[in-house]
Amino acid sequence: MTELFQSLRRRMKGLMLKFMPGMITCREFESFIVDYLDNTLEAEQRTLFERHIRLCRECREYLAAYQASNALSATLKSSPDDQVPDSVPQDLVDAVLAARQDQE
């Protein structure tokens, strides 16, 4: 019963977002996300995007999880120290210094 209700509710919402003026669908919302987060959406698109966030629970929660996931993946910057090799291959040092001497 709950599933049927959810399906009906989504259908009603889908029809409203697809056909009412001043609305965008969830799929259109999806295509605006990168520009929205970069703050590069044009004013009109931004208005449509923010209106959609207010009306659509799924997209609101999706965007929050998407941003949380971005924050997590951005932490990959710092590799663990133990991955850094202790020594530098001497042949590499020699090759770099020789290339510098060639230049001079």
Binding site: R10, R11, K13, G14, L15, L17, K18, T25, C26, R27, E28, F29, E30, S31, I33, V34, D35, D38, C56, R57, E58, C59, R60, E61, Y62, A64, A65, Y66, A68, S69, N70, A71, L72, S73, A74, T75, L76, K77, S79, Q83, V84, P85, D86, V88, P89, L92, V93, A95, V96, L97, A99, R100, Q103
Partner: protein, 199 residues
Amino acid sequence: MSDKQITTAPEPIAATDHEKLVRDNYGWMLVLARDIVGDHALAEDVVQEALINAVRGLDKFKQRSRLQTWLRRITINQAITKLRQLDRIAEEEFDEYQPEFDKLDCRIEAKWATLPTPERILEQQGTQALIEQAFAKLPESYRLVVRLRDIEGYDTREVAELLSVSENNVKVRLHRARAALKKLLEPVLRREDSKEKPL
């Protein structure tokens, strides 16, 4: 000569400085190159070329305080050059782990009652490894765009120039990769034992 000129003028560089530059920076440059090209031997080639470019250009580099930032850029450029030589920059098909929509283009998304803060998630044991595993599931050309944009902090235009693709292509790859990471990281984001904030 003004004070400003005095502070920015480079000092003469001795040969020992070149060796010091190599020894001080080799380690982290190798890790960075390996993260991008995904192979130790290739990464060594990349770092050697990057260091050669660096010592050759050092005389012209005036902002010594930003040496690591400069070396980071040289390493990334060299790594991308290497990937391009190996024809590993081209966009691949990638339709997995993308969001779902119904026939009316309505999003299908399981309810999120709460969402833990990223800081809280990172405190949990094993989170970093799970993030790395999720990242490894992306195709290389998508992983590269996320690394450049979200990890290294380049903007869309810079990434497009580095990869010789359009800005729109960068945005499309970035979004698909982020969407996939969101789906792959859902088990971590929905973990019940995290301290959560209501949505």
